[in-house]
């Protein structure tokens, strides 16, 4: 009887999860083994042929490489900046609420709006960045039109957008640390640096893990800005995996190949999440 009761409690959540998460994932995996059907040519089973095509697709490898750089560029930077900002606004500042709100503002703006603003920041000559550089006599630069700067330019924007969000988690964690620890540290004569590395940072580890998992997922999930800023160009230099999936599915209408790419993305994210939990779990103190 207790079993039945337990299952009944689980059912609503389970139905939602199965209908909107697990079933679509399984269907995607299945779709990736078939060709895309049209009315004229019905879909047929092809085994792993779509995966072979994927291995031969230079754009797939390029967007994967871009995504790796994007993750490496945004995750540590956003986390470090978030932590520094949290430590800063956790001290006694004049107009502290205002500073906190200022740091949090980028987070509450929709990504599409942010991208539209940054599009004009990056515009050569008339953009904010070029006008600022012009004061020092620097030549204008085509930030989004140059393959060597376009990915970096989108990373800066995403860090700007994300750091404030992560700051909120760190700030909440910092405020839950008992003040006795700091007093004890001061009595023992620990420098602020030592105190931070030996006490604060280890105690923040659960938050760091949480933020890290979220930042990693976001670095694969956030592609809204590409629709506005670059459409993945020039020549795929700023395209990311999820944006490529969108193009394949809705611009090329190759739903099977899009399913193949999606399966790869799913596998990639699952592996990363497992690794993070397995490796970092050991170093995290939960109370």
């Amino acid at each position: 009887m207790r079993h039945v009761y337990g299952w009944l409690l689980l059912t609503p959540a389970a139905i939602l999860l199965i209908a909107f998460t697990h079933y679509p994932a399984a269907a995607t995996l299945l779709d990736s083994l078939f060709t895309t059907g049209t009315v004229v040519r019905p879909s047929r089973f092809v085994g792993l042929a779509n995966y072979a095509a994927l291995a031969d697709d230079p754009i797939f490898w390029q967007v994967l490489r871009n995504n790796a750089w994007f993750a490496l560029g945004t995750i540590p930077t956003a986390i470090a900046i978030a932590l520094v900002m949290a430590l800063w606004v956790n001290t006694r500042l004049p107009a502290r609420a205002l500073v906190r709100m200022a740091y949090f503002t980028p987070t509450i703006l929709p990504m599409i709006a942010v991208a539209n603003i940054w599009l004009f920041f990056y515009t050569p000559q008339i953009g904010l960045i070029d006008q600022f550089r012009a004061m020092f006599g620097a030549a204008s630069h085509n930030w989004l039109g140059d393959p060597s700067t376009v990915l970096g330019a989108t990373m800066v924007m995403v860090v700007w957008k994300e750091a404030g969000f992560f700051m909120i988690f760190y700030l909440a964690a910092l405020q839950s640390l008992p003040p006795e620890l700091e007093e004890a540290g001061r009595i023992e004569g620990a420098s602020r640096w030592t105190f931070f590395w030996r006490v604060t940072f280890p105690l923040l580890m659960p938050t760091t893990l949480f933020v890290l998992v979220n930042a990693t997922i976001n670095s694969f999930k956030l592609v809204d800005h590409l629709f506005i800023l670059t459409k993945g160009g020039p020549d795929n230099a700023s395209s990311l995996l999820l944006y490529y999936i969108y193009q394949v599915a809705f611009s090329f209408f190759e739903t099977s190949y899009a399913a193949t790419l999606t399966s790869v993305l799913l596998a990639l994210l699952a592996t990363l999440a497992l690794l993070q939990f397995a490796l970092l779990e050991k170093r995290v103190h939960y109370r």
Binding site: T123, P124, I126, A139, N142, I228, K231, G233, F252
Partner: protein, 424 residues
């Protein structure tokens, strides 16, 4: 018991009466330019219902062209497509491959209707015609034109009323118009051609001017690697690298209008869809001209067509035909053109008093029409998304200096051949 019967009877009548009287005509339409255009479309629909009380029109705004195509095809897969839609003119082959649409020739059978099918500019029909049958009726159609800043021309010692007529003139004028400060930084460029968003579209103009079309009329072969096409891409690249009158790298579609309005470029190539917006906010006198020629003039058409879907009842088809005929009447075409900057889709729209007067006050309004003589259909083939992106990537790789034009276009052509082989 009697009251129940009466109630049931009444309910039956209430339910069946409107179904007998009215055909419901739902249609999706995209909007790709600025302005409160949903109101304009709703107004047309209400006006149509006044003269056709047996038809109820439901216009549904469906986002941009991509969104509209996705919505229409998703509805089709779910088995409940709208009878009528405005979709991108270049979606034709995709819709044919999905076996989603029927030809207007099959519905427009009377002599009067057949004459109506021939009343549009031929240039606007090529993107909607397949194997001699008309599948797309032009509605919101645009083309590329050259905008120039007359003040900048005067300042550079050029005749402000004379835009460049060919590539040589454009290069020479642009280099006079490019303004550099003492340290070599550019404060005004000579010309900008956008290369994000729709690079293939702009490139079609260059290629056509150099005498080449980029695809065949059956939509199953491309012509990316012809020497004259390569030369066209070389010229585009040279504007930045050799002549130094355009920024190197890609030029952003979305911010170009602003750059022109701020005087950062003296000339730009852009869609006529921007005409009203430029007119409203330019603080200097500007002109609009046909694009310059190399071997000939040339500019692709673009925009959206009316399609009628296959899964429709005869009544819906008839209603769709009547509605589209109504929407393309000369007066309405003239009105729509003035509201948007799109071209009026038929010659007799330009002889209506309204549009005549507008053109007299604002001559740029008819440049696009005059350019039709040299126009070419927008790039559209089977597998169109992929085939187009191959060209987009080749153009951007060339403009950013990662590849040579010949090499980039050859690779794109080979890949396009592979994709299109099975359609020949």
């Amino acid at each position: 018991m009697r009251w129940l019967t009466a109630l049931l009877l009444a309910a039956t009548f209430a339910a069946s009466a409107p179904a007998r009287a009215a055909t419901e005509l739902t249609f999706y339409y995209p909007i790709a330019v600025g302005g409160p255009l949903t109101k304009v479309i709703d107004g047309y629909a209400r006006e149509f219902e006044k003269t056709n009380p047996d038809v109820k029109v439901n216009p549904i705004y469906a986002g941009n062209y991509d969104d509209a195509r996705i919505k229409a095809l998703a509805a089709l897969k779910a088995g409940q497509s709208a009878p009528l839609s405005v979709l991108f003119s270049i979606d034709l082959y995709e819709l044919l491959e999905q076996d989603a649409i029927i030809a207007w020739d099959d519905i427009a059978t009377t002599a009067e209707d057949k004459a109506w099918l021939k009343s549009f500019y031929p240039a606007l029909m090529s993107n909607g015609t397949y194997k001699g049958k008309v599948y797309g009726i032009p509605f919101q159609r645009s083309t590329i034109v050259l905008y120039w800043n007359k003040e900048a021309f005067k300042e550079a010692g050029l005749d402000p009323e004379k835009p460049p007529a060919n590539w040589n003139e454009m290069t020479q004028m642009a280099s006079k118009l490019t303004k550099r400060d003492a340290s070599g930084n550019v404060s005004r460029w000579g010309v900008m051609v956008p290369s994000t968003g729709y690079p293939y579209w702009m490139f079609q103009a260059f290629a056509r001017q150099n005498g080449q079309d980029l695809m065949n009329r059956d939509g199953n072969a491309t012509n990316y690697a012809h020497p004259d096409v390569v030369a066209a891409l070389q010229y585009w690249r040279d504007l930045g690298v050799k002549h130094k009158v355009m920024p190197e790298g890609t030029v952003e579609w979305g911010t170009l209008r602003q750059a022109f309005l701020e005087g950062k470029t003296a000339m730009m190539w852009h869609t006529t869809g921007n005409l009203t917006a430029v007119k409203d906010s330019a603080k200097f006198p500007f002109g609009v001209a046909m694009l310059p020629a190399s071997k000939q003039r040339g500019s692709p058409t673009g925009g959206g067509n009316f399609y009628v879907f296959k899964k429709t009842t005869p009544a819906e088809r008839k209603a769709a035909l009547e509605f589209v005929k109504f929407m393309t009447q000369p007066e309405r075409a003239a009105d729509w053109s003035m509201a948007t900057g799109y071209v009026a889709i038929r010659p007799d729209a330009y002889t209506t008093p309204k549009l005549k007067q507008y053109a007299a006050e604002f001559p740029p309004a008819v440049v696009a029409r005059d350019q039709f003589e040299y126009s070419t259909p927008e790039l559209s083939t089977f597998q169109t998304g992929r085939v187009r992106k191959l060209l987009d990537d080749a153009i951007q790789a060339t403009l950013t200096g990662q590849k040579q034009p010949a090499e980039a276009l050859k690779a794109a052509q080979d890949e396009a051949d592979r994709l299109l082989k099975s359609y020949r």
